[in-house]
C-alpha cells in the first residue's frame, strides 16, 4: 500500500522489460492480419520513399558534379607582365568566396583546345606559331553558387581582359538544380507523412480491439508508460518488418540499374553513386524511417486511450 511515486519512477526492471517484449511479440501474432496490413503499409511506403530517394540522391550527385565543373576563366590581358599577373592573382585570391586559382599558359590552353576537338583540332595547330589565346587564371569558388558574385568582382580588376563562366546558362542551371532539390524534399516529406497516417490508422484498428485491455490496465493502476511500452515495441517491430522487402528490393534494383546504366552514362561525364557505400546508407535510412513511422504511428493511436 505504501507505493510511492519514486518507486514507480525508478528504472524499469529487467523483468518488466522482458514482459513488454513478450507482450509485443504475442500481440503481433494474435493480430496476425492486422500485423500483415500494417507491415504492408510500411513496406509500400518505404519502397516508394526508397526508390525516390535513390533517384533524388543520384540526381543530386549529377547536379553536384555539374556544379563543380563550373569555373571562372579569367583571360589575362596580353599587356600584363609577370608582376602584373602576380598582383592580379593575389587580388583574386583575396576574394573570400574563392577556393583555388590555377594558372594556365596560353600554350597549354591551345593544347587542351586541340585535344578537346580531336581530329578537327588539327587545324588549330597552325596557330602554334602565333597563339591568339590569352594566359588564363582558372578560378573555383568554395560554393559553386557564388560563381557569379566572384566573377563580378574579378571583372572590375586591372588586366582581367575577359571573365567567362558560362554567363546566363550557369544562373539557369543553378536555379533548376535548386528547384529540383526543393521539389524532391517536399515530395519525400509528403510521402513520409502519408505513410505515418496510413500506419497510425492501421494500428488504430488493432488497438480498438484491445480497448478493454487498456481500460482494465488503467483501472487496476498500471501507469501510462507501462501501458505504452508494448505498443511502442510493437510499432518498432512493424516498422522493422516493413523495411525488409524495401531494402531487398531497392538494393537489388540498384545493383542491376547501376550495372546497366553506369557504362552508358560514362560518355556523358555523369557518374552514379557507387553501390557501396550508397546502398548501405540507403538501407540504414530505410530501417530508420521504418522504425520511426512504426513507433510514431503506434504511439499516436494509443495516445487517445490513455487520457485519464
Amino acid at each position: 500500500m505504501c507505493v510511492t511515486s519514486k518507486e514507480v519512477i525508478t528504472a524499469m526492471k529487467a523483468r518488466t522489460l522482458g514482459r513488454h517484449f513478450r507482450e509485443s511479440f504475442k500481440s503481433l501474432g494474435r493480430n496476425g492480419w492486422m500485423t500483415f496490413a500494417s507491415a504492408s503499409a510500411v513496406t509500400v511506403t518505404l519502397i516508394l520513399v526508397g526508390v525516390f530517394f535513390v533517384i533524388m540522391m543520384n540526381l543530386n550527385k549529377v547536379a553536384t558534379t555539374i556544379e563543380e565543373d563550373v569555373e571562372i576563366r579569367v583571360h589575362i590581358d596580353v599587356a600584363a607582365n609577370e608582376q602584373d599577373q602576380e598582383v592580379l592573382r593575389q587580388k583574386i585570391e583575396g576574394i573570400s568566396e574563392v577556393k583555388t586559382v590555377e594558372y594556365s599558359t596560353k600554350e597549354k590552353e591551345l593544347d587542351s583546345l586541340i585535344d578537346s576537338l580531336g581530329e578537327e583540332g588539327e587545324a588549330f595547330k597552325l596557330f602554334e606559331q602565333d597563339n591568339p589565346l590569352n594566359d588564363v587564371f582558372i578560378v573555383k569558388t568554395k560554393n559553386p553558387a557564388d560563381t557569379m558574385k566572384a566573377a563580378k568582382q574579378i571583372e572590375k580588376m586591372e588586366y582581367a581582359a575577359k571573365v567567362k563562366y558560362g554567363q546566363g546558362q550557369v544562373e539557369k542551371l543553378f536555379n533548376f538544380i535548386n528547384a529540383g532539390r526543393n521539389v524532391g524534399l517536399v515530395l519525400i516529406i509528403g510521402l513520409l507523412f502519408t505513410a505515418m497516417f496510413l500506419i497510425s490508422n492501421t494500428i488504430k484498428i488493432t488497438i480498438m480491439s484491445r480497448r478493454k485491455e487498456i481500460e482494465i490496465m488503467r483501472l487496476v493502476g498500471a501507469t501510462n508508460s507501462f501501458i505504452r511500452w508494448p505498443f511502442f515495441l510493437e510499432g518498432l517491430w512493424l516498422g522493422l518488418l516493413g523495411s525488409i522487402i524495401p531494402i531487398a528490393l531497392v538494393s537489388t534494383a540498384y545493383y542491376y540499374a547501376f550495372d546497366y546504366l553506369a557504362p552508358k552514362l560514362e560518355g556523358h561525364f555523369i557518374k552514379l553513386l557507387e553501390f557501396s557505400p550508397f546502398v548501405y546508407q540507403i538501407s540504414g535510412l530505410i530501417i530508420l524511417m521504418g522504425a520511426l513511422i512504426g513507433v510514431w504511428g503506434s504511439l499516436m493511436s494509443v495516445r487517445k486511450f490513455l487520457k485519464v
Binding site: 526492471k13 514482459r19 482494465i216 488503467r218 487496476v220 493502476g221 498500471a222 501507469t223 501501458i227
Partner: protein, 228 residues
C-alpha cells in the same frame, strides 16, 4: 476513509450529476448507494476512483485529494481501490488465472507473489478449480467472481462496485453478495451501487439514497426505500 465535501459535478452538456454532496465513509464500512436511474449514482461512484473529476469540492480517499491529484499519480491511487462492474470486463482470451494475475502483472508485482496471491484470492471466491478455464466457459456468476477476485487480489482498502448483480439471476446474486460480505468482514470498505431491493433489505448495511445529484437519505442499516 472516503470523504466528500461539497462536491459538484456538471457535465459540459449542462447536466448536473452531483450537487453539494457531503459524505463520510469510515474504514471497514459497507455502504449501498441507491436511487432511480439517472439520479447520479454512477457519477458518485466514478468520482471515487477518479474516472470523473468533480467540478468543485474535495474528494479524499485514504488521505489523497482526488480533485487535485495529478494525472500521473492516478495509477498509484487506483492501486488502493478495487472496482467491479456489471459487465465483468474480463479479457476473453485469458484464462481465469491470467485475468486475475493480469492485475498484479501490470503493477509490476514480483512473480513470486503473483501465483500465491492469485490462488489465495481464487480460493476465496471459490474458483480455484476453474483457474485454467476461459471466461466463455463460465456462468455469469462465475465470471463476476473472477472480476471480484481481480479487484481484490491486490488487497485494496476499498472495493467499489457498480451494479455487480445487475446481470445475474437472484440465486447467483446472493452468492456474489456473500463474497462481498466476506471481503467486508476482512476489513475492506465496500461501496456498492445497486438496484437490488431484496438484497438491500435483507443484508442490512448503511444506505445512501441519491436523487437529482443530491443525497436525500443516509441511514445506518437502512432500507432500499423504492419500489423496484
Amino acid at each position: 476513509m472516503i470523504d466528500m465535501k461539497d462536491v459538484y459535478k456538471r457535465y459540459p452538456n449542462g447536466v448536473t450529476a452531483a450537487s453539494g454532496i457531503d459524505v463520510h465513509i469510515k474504514q471497514g464500512e459497507f455502504v449501498y448507494v441507491v436511487g432511480p436511474s439517472g439520479a447520479g449514482k454512477s457519477t458518485f461512484i466514478k468520482m471515487m476512483y477518479r474516472e470523473e473529476k468533480p467540478s468543485s469540492g474535495t474528494i479524499t480517499i485514504d488521505g489523497v485529494n482526488l480533485a487535485t491529484l495529478k494525472n500521473a499519480k492516478v495509477p498509484l491511487m487506483r492501486r488502493k481501490i478495487g472496482v467491479v462492474f456489471q459487465d465483468f470486463k474480463l479479457l476473453q482470451t485469458l484464462t481465469v488465472y491470467e485475468n486475475v494475475a493480469f492485475a498484479l502483472e501490470v503493477i509490476e508485482e514480483h512473480p513470486k507473489n503473483i501465483k500465491k496471491q492469485v490462488m489465495e484470492t481464487l480460493d476465496l471466491v471459490g474458483l480455484k478449480h476453474k483457474a485454467r478455464m476461459l471466461p466463455t466457459e463460465l456462468s455469469g456468476g462465475e465470471q463476476q467472481r473472477v472480476s471480484i477476485a481481480r479487484s481484490i487480489v491486490n488487497s485494496p482498502k476499498v472495493v467499489i462496485a457498480d451494479e455487480p448483480t445487475g446481470n445475474l439471476d437472484p440465486d447467483t446474486s446472493w452468492e456474489i453478495m456473500n463474497i462481498f460480505d466476506e471481503i467486508n468482514t476482512r476489513g475492506t470498505t465496500v461501496v456498492m451501487a445497486t438496484h437490488n431491493k431484496e438484497i438491500v433489505n435483507t443484508i442490512k448495511h448503511r444506505v445512501i439514497a441519491i436523487e437529482g445529484g443530491r443525497i436525500v437519505r443516509d441511514e445506518q442499516r437502512g432500507d432500499y426505500g423504492y419500489e423496484s
